[in-house]
Amino acid sequence: MNDNFGFTDAPASAGRELTYLEAIAEGIRLEMERDENVLVMGEDVGGDFGGAFKVTRGLAARFGDHRVLNTPIAELGFTGMANGMAMMGLRPIIEMQFADFISTAFDSIVQFASTAHYRMGASVPWVIRAPSDGGIRSGPFHSQNPEAWFVHTPGLKVVAPATPADAKGLLAGAVRDDNPVIFFEAKPLYRSVRSHVPEGEHVVPLGKAEVRRHGTDVTVITYGSMVHQALAAADAVEPDGISTMVLDLRSLKPLDTEAILTAATATGKVIVAHAANRMAGVGAEVAALVADEAFDALDGPVRRLGGADTPVPFSPPLEDAYRPNAEKIATSIRDLAAW
């Protein structure tokens, strides 16, 4: 199996640079070392195999099989099981082999876990790691970005790191949170992105966005793999004299409304971009927030870029037509800058 789906490996570099995947793995290992209530569970995560993407490789040898639990193919059942474990004070990190498969566990997440604290004051502190996103020629059922379902669900938290440092830090933040957190990993970033990751304890608080690039003409609000596409787009339009701000949401629930409004107000021109399909996506909520609360500061319409309202297609010309990318974001930046 080609774990990298055709993406070029990030160039190796000395010192404390890690790939996105290595950063997640380090985050899990450190949380398991810190707290014996933390365990890993999911399909194929245990033994020497270490998961479909090898994120959990080495954990069973390090911590023992009882803390790295291989489950049968039963997402509804094992996620429900994690609800019970979490109510008893354990902190399961569930690997959903692909984010696409999370629908199979829907009741356990959106009906039970998300309501337990409201109904009976019982906290359910698990983390679901959901390898999401496409662009890697994997077809309709290994490419999805289903975050909007969960952002729409009260009682859940949702994060989507874009960088190796955030992948490690948000993983720690999610494990330590007393609520159910869905951690959307961007598969295309696993081995294609390598950058500085702090050693030792590194916790990124949930609900805090981060400005990745300062700019004065147009603001692109985005998350996950599209952060990198937005940064490339910002580079591409710079020669045209367009200065682009890129805000990385990092957490989708809770949203950092203050950072969103500050970034929108700074340029008055806002594009929201995500790889998930646009219809009723997270971008719609962000655009509505900006329209509601920063209307006076706007100098143009709030644009939204997202996937088409279709299943994620397999064949390259179709998938490329489906997804936003740096080129499409650059075109949108130019259009909006000229507004």
Binding site: L76, G121, S123
Partner: protein, 319 residues
């Protein structure tokens, strides 16, 4: 033979549950209720027998027919009536309806959701936490015949058998899933056979005999705590009223209800106590009066209790 005092206690709890149920049904028919509600009439032996078998450190996820389990476990009638009437003092603080959401981990009770088979994997997770920590505790839950046809049922039993978890499931076979009788739900309603193929110890008991239910649950829980793995107990009974308060259950043949009425679990246990010389009619009459007084007090307190302040709407969505 079960300790006579325990057998009398079984009667007291069943009578309390039955009295609560009758009072609740009457109130809802009088328009003094709120929303819908679910009667557990006919299921008292299961709720009480299982509830009394639980140890102080065990955890249970009962369902909407298991009022007796909540009461035995220490959930007060005031908190339950308060929940049913949407009061701030109810177990869910006005968040959830009737017996739904009535949970309190301090009492070892997990509140179920309407998607009843969800209680199965949740409870298995509780059991797995005991295994993880090496604690001699067991986790128990309940499901109806209707829930046994769901994917969650089979996924849970598969994992419970695989890991030999300290997990006990009581299947309350009450003949109907809402309006659908057993023979329209599954090819072969042999629940023990099904659970057995997953590597789970099974038992089938008369769900209208509190003594039998208690004995089967006690044995299963002791085995689970001792590391002997999971058990599925089929307790056969009959839902004596409709699915919910609005449902007249006209689809149930009258003869079937008459047959099960003769096997009423509360009246049957009373007969057993007097015939075996364990308790006198006078003793049991006193317990009946005590149950009526207890429930009257609870209803009065719940009806007096305040409704939740709308300013608390968002309280508790997050931990």
């Amino acid at each position: 033979m079960v300790d006579p005092r325990v057998q009398i206690e079984m009667y007291a709890w069943m009578k309390l549950a039955r009295t609560f149920d009758e009072q609740m049904v009457a109130m809802w028919k009088q328009g003094r209720g709120l929303g819908g509600t679910f009667s557990g009439r006919g299921h008292e032996a299961i709720g009480v027998g299982a509830g009394m078998a639980l140890g102080p450190d065990d955890i249970v996820a009962p369902m909407h027919r298991d009022l007796g389990t909540y009461l035995v476990r220490g959930m007060s009638p005031e908190r339950i009536f308060g929940n049913m009437l949407g009061r701030a003092t109810g177990a869910s603080r006005g968040r959830d309806a009737n017996l739904h959401g009535v949970g309190d981990l301090g009492l070892g009770i997990i509140g179920f959701i309407s998607h009843l088979p969800q209680s199965l994997p949740t409870t298995l997770g509780v059991a797995m936490s005991f295994r993880y920590r090496g604690e001699p505790r067991a986790a128990m839950t309940f499901v109806g015949d209707g829930g046994t046809t769901s994917g969650a049922f089979h996924e849970t039993l598969n994992m419970a058998g695989l890991w030999q978890a300290p997990f006990v499931l009581v299947i309350e076979n009450n003949q109907y899933a809402y309006s659908t009788p057993l023979d329209q739900q599954m090819h072969s309603p042999n629940f023990s056979e099904r659970a057995g193929v997953y590597g789970i110890t099974t038992a089938t008991v008369d769900g209208n005999s509190v003594v039998d239910v208690h004995a089967a649950c006690t044995e299963a829980l002791e085995r689970a705590r001792a590391g002997g793995g999971p058990t599925v107990i089929e307790a056969t009974t009959m839902r004596m009223l409709g699915h919910a308060i609005h449902d007249g259950a006209e689809y149930v043949p009258a003869g079937l209800l008459e047959e099960w009425e003769r096997r009423d679990p509360v009246a049957g246990h009373r007969r057993h106590l007097t015939e075996a010389g364990i308790a006198s009619e006078a003793t049991l009459d006193r317990l009946d009066v005590a149950a009526r007084e207890r429930i009257a007090t609870a209803v009065a307190e719940a009806e007096r209790a305040p409704l939740p302040d709308p300013d608390t709407l968002t309280d508790g969505v997050y931990a």
